[in-house]
Symmetry: C2
Subunit: 240 residues, 2 copies
Amino acid sequence: MQETRLHSREKILFFNKEYISEFVYGGIDGAITTFAVVAGAEGAGLDLSIVIILGLANLIADGFSMSVGNFFSTKAEMDSFERHRQVEYWEVQHLREKEIQEIRDIYAAKGFKGALLEQVVEVITSNEDVWVDTMMKEELEMVRSDKTPYKTAGMTFLSFIVVGSVPLLSYLFANTNYIQQDLFLISCLLTALALGIVGSFKSMVTGKNLFFGILETLTLGGLAAFLAFFVGDVLEKILL
Amino acid sequence: MQETRLHSREKILFFNKEYISEFVYGGIDGAITTFAVVAGAEGAGLDLSIVIILGLANLIADGFSMSVGNFFSTKAEMDSFERHRQVEYWEVQHLREKEIQEIRDIYAAKGFKGALLEQVVEVITSNEDVWVDTMMKEELEMVRSDKTPYKTAGMTFLSFIVVGSVPLLSYLFANTNYIQQDLFLISCLLTALALGIVGSFKSMVTGKNLFFGILETLTLGGLAAFLAFFVGDVLEKILL
């Protein structure tokens, strides 16, 4: 019963807490970098086909490299948790008295004292798994994550590709009769819309103010895109 | 005493567990994406100055946008923790009996029973902060992170810029008499070296096999770079 209930709560959290973070990270980075490429290419007055090549190449390469980075990052955290857990198992076996005192300190801080405190210490330290579990949560403040590297990397890639393709949509589906400047304007609006949607999704899950969530996403996203455009522009003038 | 000891352990963890994850993530993404731009530009036979412009613009824009994504992602996790904590405070105030039973279930699972279990439940539920803290750690398996959005975003940016500038070094400091193909070869070697260093750093902290850590970083990094080069190349042939 206990197991089932905890499990179902974790499942909800798995979406709320874990995946949403990858979705927001991948989506925002995808939209901004692809838009930066488009803006930079537009700033340099490049042709429609070049904008598409640079945009798509960046989308796939950057989405993949971000997922690789995410894979290793999640794996490093998982490994770090396991390593600390191994150390705690070693400590409860070899530094028994010290670790018993640490459990005593932890439960004293919770308000236990006297004979009751000693009884609690005895129960906790009578089961090695419960003992280590307590040390992990209370001393190291580490919990085992539901995240697996494949899932977080997959979500990052998916989010990066889907949201990141938005700035390219107007170019990809353009009738060649369109003026390229209009395509760029449409790309700006669609990108802002995509960032707004990611921002609002984030707000809904974190329970924060919706308007403020959208505003901060758009502001920082716009700043990043402006910076990309500006750097490309300045460097072009200096170097060419 | 308790506070100070926990605090100092957290400080070590702060570097081991939190920052290392941002360093690995930012560094690998930075090196791969910048290298992808360089490889793509080389593949398209672009001039030295164009390689530098595209590379630097991408480095700064992508580093910034990744940091923005990281900022929101860390913030979303922080907000999610706070929201769940507020919910737990509400629950211990309004669904008192249900929450008392949950504490009873949690401590029964640890091996407490009978009168001792009831005494433990009484102490835990006599202090609202201890009660909520227990629910957060034991039921929801959530701990407050030491991470702040500014710090994780800052570390991501720094790592992205520093490691990500490596593929550009040969171009930036090139004597113009060099053959550009040689510069690309040097860039390949330096990038592999940088990925290897990030991989080995990761292995040292996670306590995993050093050789394997370097190998997997180089393999996935190489695959991402190849993909970037390949996509740029194929698209170029289709569209131009």
